[in-house]
């Protein structure tokens, strides 16, 4: 006899697969989108440090890379903290879908 769907659920709702939260892409919650302006970036890595998620990617050489828009929820902390270069921000927030 085949099992009912609820009979196949793991006991006590324990998640047995490590790191499975990566499958849950939360970027869709975003209404404001951070834009990286590389020419204004001084590679201070403040955005990487301040990101409450892990949405600022870093290259193998330890350099700032593009945002991970699969998980960035557009909180804007990175843009706020960005010191920029000569008064010009390296991260600006733009309305999503524009």
């Amino acid at each position: 006899m085949s099992k009912k769907y609820w009979e196949t659920l793991p006991q006590g709702s324990v998640v047995l697969e490590a790191g499975s939260s990566a499958k849950f892409k939360t970027g869709g919650w975003r209404s404001m989108r951070p834009k990286w302006i590389e020419e204004n970036c001084i590679q201070c890595m403040f955005c990487w440090m301040y990101c409450p998620d892990m949405s600022v990617k870093v290259t193998a050489e330890g350099k700032r890379a593009e945002f991970d828009y699969d998980y960035c929820k557009g909180c804007g902390i990175c843009a706020l903290e960005c010191p920029g270069k000569k008064g010009k921000k390296a991260i600006v927030m733009e309305e999503e879908g524009k």
């Binding site: 609820w6 009979e7 659920l9 006991q11 006590g12 709702s13 324990v14 998640v15 939260s21």
Partner: protein
């Protein structure tokens, strides 16, 4: 085999915990359960057990620490009472929903307000929907025996649910009675080695406890949780059969007393059952066909089995040592639920008694039986819910 001692209910439960030697106990003192964990803490201090005793700042923290320790993969116990249980409330659901086999003696005590430290079932009944297994004990011997059995039931691989072992505050927790202790080795053999299921401390297999599960699957998880509860009665009976082989003491889902040929029945839990049995004997001597049913397992509630045991009686009095204000007593609600499935529909009355530790007197049992005789004869119920032993 065994040792015969004169001990209180608390002392007997502490002894059971000592013999079982849990990995972790997290506890916070509250009357009348204080003495239980205090005795256990002496066992820890004296090196009689290997338990990690976590002294916390509240019962909410006590249950939280128990949940963490159980998820980590340990055999875990605690004890509490009344306001302590009330403060654990949200964590009780988490322990059950996460399927953690924590065992907790609950020394039944009234809830505030007004403040009262004495025995009634308000605390346990408030936790009836938390998903915990609940066993109620009539005396110190049953509290001890139920504690030993609770570990086997809760930890059974088909079950993995937390279990409360209830006994009446002060009436049982602080009265000295004759109790037969089982030998340490026999208890150890009976409960067996703890088998961890999905332990967090198994670092080679990382996992997550307590995920967010929303509208797409929560309903299914709760359906599955109910299904586990339906397997509990079978396990309780299997464990009781093994326990009887070891000790000669017989347990079931409930106890019946002179019920087989009875025309009327009293349903009552815990210590009040003892007084009631004495009065039943007196009425039996006079030819009155009265019997008793004492539920032991209140959660899950054995509806069908109780309906089968009561289906030949004409009238039932359900005595509740807890109230549901604006509703019937919690035990009454379950018994009438059981009666629903019976072809014969006996008349059922509800008596609220003994709140806040008010004595349940033999004369009150007599009054209930006298009323039951009238109800059985006429089939008429004057008032479904009444309070007995209340000043008027």
């Amino acid at each position: 085999m065994g040792t015969i001692v004169a001990v209180t209910g608390n002392e007997a439960c502490a002894q059971a915990l000592k013999q079982i030697n849990p990995d972790v106990c997290a506890a916070y003192p509250i009357t009348p359960a204080t003495d239980l964990m205090q005795r256990f803490s002496s066992f820890v201090n004296d090196g009689k057990v290997d338990t990690e005793l976590v002294l916390v700042e509240s019962e909410h923290s006590a249950m939280s620490a128990c949940i963490g320790a159980a998820a980590a993969g340990g055999r875990v116990a605690t004890a509490t009472s009344s306001q302590g249980l009330a403060l654990m409330w949200e964590m009780l659901y988490i322990a059950a929903g996460t399927r953690l086999p924590i065992v907790m003696p609950l020394v039944n005590r009234a809830l505030s307000a007004p403040l009262n430290i004495h025995g009634d079932h308000s605390d346990g009944m408030g936790a009836r929907d938390t998903g915990w297994i609940q066993l109620y004990s009539e005396n110190a011997q049953e509290a001890y025996d139920n504690t030993v059995q609770a570990f086997r039931i809760a930890e059974h691989l088909d079950i993995r649910l937390p279990a409360m072992v209830c006994m009446d505050g002060f009436i049982v927790s602080h009265s000295i009675e004759r109790v037969e202790y089982i030998d340490d080795g026999d208890v150890k053999k009976f409960v067996g080695k703890f088998k961890a299921v999905h332990p967090l401390l198994d670092l080679d297999n990382p996992k997550s406890y307590g995920p967010l599960i929303l509208t797409d699957m929560y309903h299914e998880y709760k359906r599955a949780q109910h299904e586990v509860m339906t397997k509990v009665p079978g396990v309780v009976l299997d464990v009781a059969a093994d326990f009887e082989k070891m000790t000669g003491r017989k347990y079931g889902l409930f106890e019946t007393y002179r019920l087989d040929d009875a025309e009327m029945a009293i349903v009552v839990m815990s210590s009040a059952a003892g007084t009631t049995k004495d009065i039943i004997d007196q009425y039996r001597d006079r030819g009155v066909k009265i019997g008793l049913l004492k539920p032991r397992m209140f959660r899950p509630f054995p509806f069908q089995e109780i309906a089968d045991a009561l289906n030949h009686v004409k009238a039932i009095a359900v005595l509740d040592r807890a109230d549901s204000f604006g509703g019937y007593g919690p035990l009454f609600s379950e018994i009438t639920g059981a009666v629903m499935s019976m072809k014969s529909k006996p008349a059922v009355i509800n008596k609220i008694f003994g709140l806040g530790g008010r004595d349940y007197l033999p004369v009150q049992a007599e009054q209930v039986i006298d009323e039951l005789i009238q109800v059985a004869e006429t089939g008429k119920v004057e008032a479904i819910k009444e309070y007995i032993g209340v000043r008027e």
